[in-house]
């Protein structure tokens, strides 16, 4: 037997297809069954039996949904065709169980069974999209958003890289570096060891080439977090509202749904109330469905036209169309029953009004949500493509460039200049022939590394391992890493390592830790979470005293430094946006 966690992971990740659907199905099917079943059975005892039958089917439906989730975990989308087919199968079982509870199957009951079959299919067509939009909203369309981001990045990456290098601010940065290296050159050239004009010039040219080459060798890759930041959060209500303003009604889809309902209800009603042969009942029900289709389509088309011409606001359009379409449908039912059955069952009329209203609203809201999300994606495509991605990515890359340059100028370049000067000074004192030239050559080689700023291209596991191993001997470490498929992009790996580095340094320097755990796991499809815990004295001074490195890496609101729940030591948790999985390191 699987444990509870495993069961929840496999079935609870996306409840849209399991528990909520189960509850909705139970409610909807019970109501539909009671209101539209054989009027002769609408006694108290009949209702109990009908409810019992609906319950059997509903339980089966729930079991099947959970079973599907068990076999096919939430990360795999279940196609709507499969859901509809299963719904139909369950409906058939439920219909047969109804007949079995009633004791026999005749022509009339066959109609009831057919209706039981149709109801779940309608539920699959109408209910599932609504639930998808309600429960999952825009989240369900993450794959679509990723594809959008991919396309945007593919289009803009190379162009932006070129723009970045030619930006005024970048040129200014480069000029600063050149100025700095010029000054450094002067400092070195003033040393007595480098006395000849030719050597000074050579060194100056070399330093200039080094700085310029380093800047140009930077690998500028667009960051998905930049794009993600540009995409506003949207919800179901906003999505529907957005689409209703553009197109509030879908005449074809709504008419089709109402026609199917009409056929089912007419079949049931005429089979039980009229004296017609069963074949004639089918023909009349089919005719009623066609009439219903025409009435609904005409009504919705007229209101849609009024909306598109600006005569009515979207809310008034959908309300007016629903009221009129339902009224016409009721009139059609009354006429049909009067002509072919000579009866006027109030319960049936009320049921039809309720079901038709729900059907019209459901179909149009479901389509509005889907259409709205597509429209929002299209809007985002334009808005992102115009400016936001460029700006955000540019600023981020600029920050990254600045950081690398600062590190290079303050660290590597300074150290090497000092070393070069010392080497030349030593060589000058050395009486060995050629030692001075050799020292100059050595200094030139050391200062000519043009790849000093190249972005690392590493995989997560060895990179984190390498980061942690730098501290081995100072504390004991454990590393726990999720497997990421596709692998994290190099820049994300770099960020993860910088965060781990920051967390370890904080734990060692301020927390006096002797044991540190580093965990990198998949928070969700778009976010990686880095957690560093230690056994030290706990957080000192709070996050604001922690330094700005994490702000630079992750933003002010995406990390926290707290005391561990067991009170021993601190817990640093940082969220990092994943690179788009399709991003490879950009070519130099």
């Amino acid at each position: 037997m699987a444990d509870a966690t495993s069961f929840r992971e496999r079935t609870g990740g996306r409840w849209a297809f399991s528990l909520p659907v189960w509850i909705l199905a139970a409610t909807a099917s019970a109501v539909i069954t009671i209101l539209t079943s054989n009027p002769t059975l609408q006694s108290e005892a009949g209702n109990v039996r009908t409810l019992a039958a609906a319950g059997v089917g509903t339980v089966l439906m729930g079991i099947v949904f959970l079973g599907i989730r068990w076999v096919r975990p939430p990360e795999h989308d279940l196609s709507i065709e499969v859901v509809i087919a299963l719904s139909a199968l369950i409906g058939l079982v439920r219909g047969l169980s109804t007949a079995w509870l009633l004791g026999h199957i005749d022509a009339h009951q066959f109609a009831a069974v057919a209706q039981q079959l149709i109801a779940p299919i309608l539920f699959g067509i109408v209910g599932i999209p609504i639930f998808n939009a309600l429960v999952e909203g825009v989240q369900q369309h993450r794959a679509e958003r990723d594809a959008l981001v991919a396309r945007l990045i593919e289009l803009r990456e190379r162009q932006l890289r070129q723009e970045l290098l030619s930006e005024t601010i970048t040129e200014a940065l480069l000029a600063n570096v050149l100025t700095a290296t010029d000054e450094a050159r002067l400092q070195v050239s003033e040393r007595p060891a480098v006395s000849s004009q030719a050597e000074r010039q050579r060194l100056a040219d070399l330093l200039r080439a080094t700085a310029t080459g380093s800047v140009r060798s930077l690998s500028h890759t667009l960051h998905e977090r930049a794009v993600m930041t540009a995409i506003p959060t949207t919800g179901f209500v906003a999505t529907v509202r957005n689409t209703l303003n553009q197109r509030p009604l879908w005449p074809w889809q709504t008419s089709l749904a109402l026609s199917v309902l009409t056929f089912a209800s007419s079949l049931t009603a005429l089979a039980n109330l009229s004296e017609l042969a069963f074949g004639a009942v089918v023909v009349v029900a089919l005719g009623a469905a066609i009439v219903q289709f025409a009435l609904t389509w005409t009504t919705l088309a007229v209101f849609l036209s009024l909306s598109q011409r600006g005569f009515l606001p979207p809310v008034m359009v959908i309300i007016g169309a629903t009221v009129l379409a339902v009224a016409l449908g009721l009139a059609r039912t009354v006429v049909m029953l009067n002509v072919f059955a000579g009866a006027f069952p109030t319960g049936l009329i009320v049921a039809q009004a309720v079901i038709a209203t729900l059907a019209i609203l459901s179909v149009n809201l479901a389509l509005a949500s889907q259409r709205g999300q597509a429209a929002i994606m299209e809007t985002l495509r334009h808005s992102i493509d115009e400016s936001e991605v460029d700006e955000i990515a540019r600023s981020r890359e600029l920050a990254r460039t600045s950081r690398s340059l600062a590190q290079y100028v303050h660290g590597t370049l300074q150290s090497r200049l000092l070393a070069a000067a010392l080497a030349i000074e030593q060589a000058e004192r050395d009486e060995t022939p050629g030692s001075f030239d050799a020292a100059i050559e050595q200094a030139v080689d050391a200062l000519s590394l043009s790849n000093a700023l190249a972005s690392p291209s590493r995989e997560l596991a060895p990179a984190v391992q390498e980061t942690v191993e730098l501290w081995s001997g100072f504390a004991t470490f454990t590393i726990t890493l999720d497997e990421f498929e596709p692998p994290l992009a190099p820049s994300v790996v770099e960020d993860v390592c910088l965060i781990a580095e920051e967390g370890i340094a904080n734990a060692m320097r301020h927390g006096r830790a002797t044991a540190i755990d580093v965990v990198v796991f998949k928070h969700d499809d778009a976010v990686v979470r880095v957690v560093v815990t230690d056994n030290g004295i706990g957080p000192q001074g709070g996050p604001r005293g922690f330094g700005s490195a994490l702000f630079d890496l992750s933003g002010a609101n995406t990390w926290s430094l707290t005391r561990r729940l067991d009170g021993a030591g601190s817990l640093l948790s940082v969220r990092v946006a994943r690179f788009a999985p399709y991003l490879a390191p950009a070519p130099d």
Binding site: A406, S415, Q426, T467, R509, G547
Partner: protein, 225 residues
């Protein structure tokens, strides 16, 4: 007072840049010191010190990723209270490298790279550090004092200086530090006053603050004139 000879001192050199490390070792040997070992990072330095027990350690402050020279200095001091330690750095104020003054181990010599007028300064510093650690020279080495200009600045003010030097606007700094723009403006004004940058006569306070920051972090800054 007994003074140790250079020959008696064995030195561990920890520097992440190979060229610099090699050159430093050559310079030390040239002045008669024994380079007992060299390492490119703190881990290697600590491992070596556990086995070789050197008299002194010459540590670069910024060792790239991982533990810094000061982290290693603490570990070495814990391992051997008498080891002489010299930290070599471009940072005039250790707070610029993310370390507070209080975190430096006792009797640690803090040597600026820009002060290395000649390579003889290195063996001199190492000898002093060893003597101080062995208690032969009382208070020969005091903890590094921040430059007079920045001594009165708090770590928060230094952080704001860094952000100014990196080109952040007041709004950007406010966002990063989760304070108001007004607070940032006041802080910058206060920094300028403490650095004796007179806003009445100096045309651009921010530029001068950025310039001072770059100078303190060891980056070469264009001289006036």
């Amino acid at each position: 007072m007994h003074r140790m000879s250079n020959e008696a001192i064995t030195v561990l050199v920890v520097e992440d840049d190979q060229f610099t490390r090699t050159t430093l070792c050559a310079a030390l040997r040239h002045h008669g010191l024994t380079v007992a070992g060299e390492a490119k990072n703190a881990r290697g330095g600590l491992e070596f010190a556990k086995h070789a027990n050197p008299d002194a350690a010459l540590l670069d402050l910024d060792l790239g990723g991982g533990p810094s020279g000061i982290d290693l200095a603490h570990a070495l001091r814990q391992l051997d209270p008498e080891i002489g330690i010299v930290i070599l750095t471009t940072y005039e104020d250790p707070r610029m490298a993310g370390h507070s003054l209080a975190t430096l181990p006792d009797n640690t010599k803090y040597l600026l790279k820009r002060d290395l007028s000649d390579s003889a300064a290195l063996p001199r510093a190492l000898t002093e550090a060893v003597e101080a650690a062995k208690g032969q020279v009382r208070a020969a080495i005091t903890p590094p004092r921040p430059p007079r200009a920045t001594a009165s600045l708090t770590e928060t003010q230094l952080e704001v200086m860094r952000l100014v030097a990196e080109g952040y606007s007041n709004g950007g700094i406010a966002e990063k530090r989760t304070v108001t723009e007004g607070a940032v403006e006041k802080m910058i004004h206060r920094i300028g006053r403490q650095l004796a940058i007179d806003t009445e006569t100096q045309s651009n306070q921010r530029v001068l603050i950025a310039r001072e920051y770059l100078r303190l972090t060891g980056a070469p800054v264009r001289r006036d004139g």
